[in-house]
């Protein structure tokens, strides 16, 4: 019987996450991994993985459909979900930044037009600085907004900075650092205490082992 359901963020973090879980002792058949199924079980049958969009990980975990999840901190900051975050993993390290064509564009007073996939994070960042913003919520290719003048600046995730560079944008401000986190549903944390804490400990051991040279 499945003891623990774990929500995995598809995309950017997916391969690294599966790699980590495998190092931590979970075994998945190649057949399961290569299939297009959205829910797979490990060989022992104790763990079930479900693959969902990153922004949906906190949704599944908060409502207890998944007991745990592995997702970037950027997604958690944006979702404001009521979850436990017992472990930080050094996977998918990146930064959430304000980027613009030049600094002058962001220093102007009055109203700042900000294009982003992260409206909450952007609103909080500029709100704390007393800057009035017109938030333009986009779902992709956010850089283009600053290039074409839809917005004065963008708030976006930056891993290597290459996309920014190629589009002649520069980082004006770093809002926060982000990396993958393990999140746990509050009820599961109590009702499946032993299984959850074993799972977290095994991940913790794995990342510590990897951290050693």
């Amino acid at each position: 019987m499945t003891e623990l359901t774990i929500a995995i963020a598809k995309g950017r973090l997916q391969a690294e996450t599966l790699d980590l879980l495998t190092s931590a002792g979970l075994v998945f058949s190649d057949q399961a991994l290569s299939s297009r199924r959205l829910a797979i079980e490990d060989e022992s049958g104790r763990f079930r993985l479900i693959f969902v969009k990153p922004a949906d990980v906190p949704v599944y975990v908060e409502r207890g459909i998944a007991d745990c999840g592995i997702v970037g901190r950027d997604v958690l900051l944006e979702s404001d979900a009521n979850l436990l975050q017992p472990l930080s993993l050094n996977l998918g390290a990146c930064r959430i930044v304000v980027a613009a064509k030049n600094e002058a564009g962001v220093r102007q007073s009055g109203m700042l037009k900000v294009a982003t996939k992260y409206p909450h994070i952007a609103a909080r960042h500029f709100g704390a600085r007393g800057v009035a913003v017109d938030l333009i919520e986009l779902s992709g290719s956010v850089e283009l907004a600053a290039v074409l003048g839809l917005a004065d600046c963008i708030v976006d995730l930056v891993e290597t900075g290459k996309t920014l560079e190629e589009n002649d944008l520069r980082v004006v401000d770093v809002i926060t650092e982000s990396s993958a986190r393990v999140v746990v549903n509050r009820a599961s944390y109590q009702l499946k205490a032993e299984t959850v804490s074993q799972f977290i400990k095994s991940l913790e051991k794995t990342i510590r082992r990897r951290g050693e040279p």
């Binding site: 908060e62 979900a81 009521n82 975050q85 009820a187 109590q190 205490a193």
Partner: protein
């Protein structure tokens, strides 16, 4: 015929007039819902069962106003909680709120209306509470019904234990005790530590937040400027675990300030009683449960049940609350979430004997309208369930 604005008739058949309402009338505000059929019956049975448990422990039912001054809830719950209430102004310009919480209203009644009554006071209620903003994404309801009890005027461990015993019995009656976990903590464990570290208010809130989300790694880093590395490390580990008596033993080794020690003593006393009653399967000690700290002054607990993704109830000791209403006294209480319990029990295949099969209905007959109703009243007088045929046109 007068047709109200917003209705437009589209059907013509007599007796079956179809009309579509404007979207404004058909749409429900978020977080509101209807109950009907089996769900409504189950909900009523749960309420009756729980209220009978309170009655069994000599708790008297109290019905509070639905609307009261906003300032009452602000004093009672604290601003951060109270501002979630639906608010509007009275004719004299004072701010009113639709009850977001029952405990504040009970505490005020105890301090005023029942000031002269003998202590302790035992009061219970089943009442809907309203929030303009839901508590979290998963707790999406803006109207939810709380079934709760408050024991006022007693500061003893016996009072704390009485409340826990009632929670246990309530879960047993609903056949949920084997799938439940009641997590215990005492806010003074945290308060003592914050005091010892001499944390300024902002740092204190940050520390609470880190503990609340069990973010051990960040907590350890956070504590480094305030205490030794070893202490930080062991404390960060402590809040990650919930467990039985072993948690208390571990805590005693790490936490040495007198305020926290006294809190640990209190928890230990309760735990010994729980052990002697053989109820340890239902309980956990969880020193990481520090949410909504400002409200409580001693014991706090949360109730989780398998199958529900969020907690199904919570409670604790709030000795300072009644002072806001002019009479300081000890108090402890808890609430259970009727809507959460209804969802949970509806989902379970083995619905307990909460819902007795309803009686078969019989159809009274009569040639004339007067005969029909005479027959119906006779059957009702015998306690039978009747179902009238009201479609027939009768002389």
């Amino acid at each position: 015929m007068n047709v109200a604005a917003g209705f437009s008739f589209t059907g013509q058949e007599p007796g079956a007039i179809y009309f579509c309402m404007s979207e404004l009338l058909s749409r429900m505000p978020t977080g509101m819902r209807y109950y009907s059929g089996a769900e409504a019956r189950l909900r009523r049975m749960i309420e009756t069962t729980l209220m009978s448990v309170f009655d069994g422990w000599s708790y008297e039912e109290i019905t509070t106003p639905t609307v009261d001054y906003y300032s009452l809830f602000e004093r009672g719950m604290g601003r951060s909680q109270a501002h979630h209430a639906f608010r509007f102004t009275d004719t004299d310009g004072r701010m009113l709120a639709i009850r977001p919480d029952v405990t504040s209203l009970v505490a005020r009644a105890a301090a005023t209306l029942f000031a002269e009554r003998e202590r302790p006071l035992r009061l219970c209620y089943a009442a809907p509470v309203f929030r303009q903003q839901p508590q979290s994404h998963a707790e999406w309801r803006r109207e939810s019904t709380q079934i709760g009890g408050e024991l006022l005027g007693a500061h003893t461990s016996a009072a704390d234990m009485e409340v826990l015993a009632i929670v246990c019995e309530a879960l047993e009656r609903l056949d949920l005790d084997r799938d439940s976990s009641i997590t215990l903590n005492d806010v003074d464990v945290f308060n003592g530590i914050a005091e010892q570290l001499a944390l300024p208010a902002e740092a204190r809130n940050e520390m609470r937040e880190l503990i609340d989300t069990r973010n051990a790694a960040d907590l350890e880093c956070f504590l480094v400027p305030w205490s030794s590395a070893e202490e930080s490390r062991s404390f960060a580990q402590l809040i990650q675990l919930s467990g039985k008596r072993n948690i208390l033993n571990d805590a005693r080794r790490i936490i040495t300030n007198p305020r926290s020690q006294t809190a640990l003593d209190r928890l230990e006393r309760l735990w010994s009683v729980i052990e002697s009653l053989q109820l340890t399967d239902c309980f956990e000690i969880d020193l990481g449960d520090v949410a909504r700290l400002d409200y409580y002054t001693g014991l706090t607990f949360k109730i989780y049940v398998k199958g529900a993704g969020t907690r199904i109830g919570s409670g604790g000791r709030y000795d300072d609350l009644t002072a806001s209403f002019g009479r300081a006294e000890a108090a402890v209480g808890f609430v259970l979430d009727l809507d959460g319990l209804t969802d949970l029990l509806m989902d379970r295949s083995h619905q307990p004997d909460l819902m007795p099969a309803s009686m078969e209905a019989s159809q009274p007959r009569g040639e004339k309208l007067s005969d029909l109703f005479a027959a119906a009243r006779t059957k009702r007088a015998r306690g039978e369930r009747v179902l009238l045929n009201t479609n027939e046109v009768m002389p």
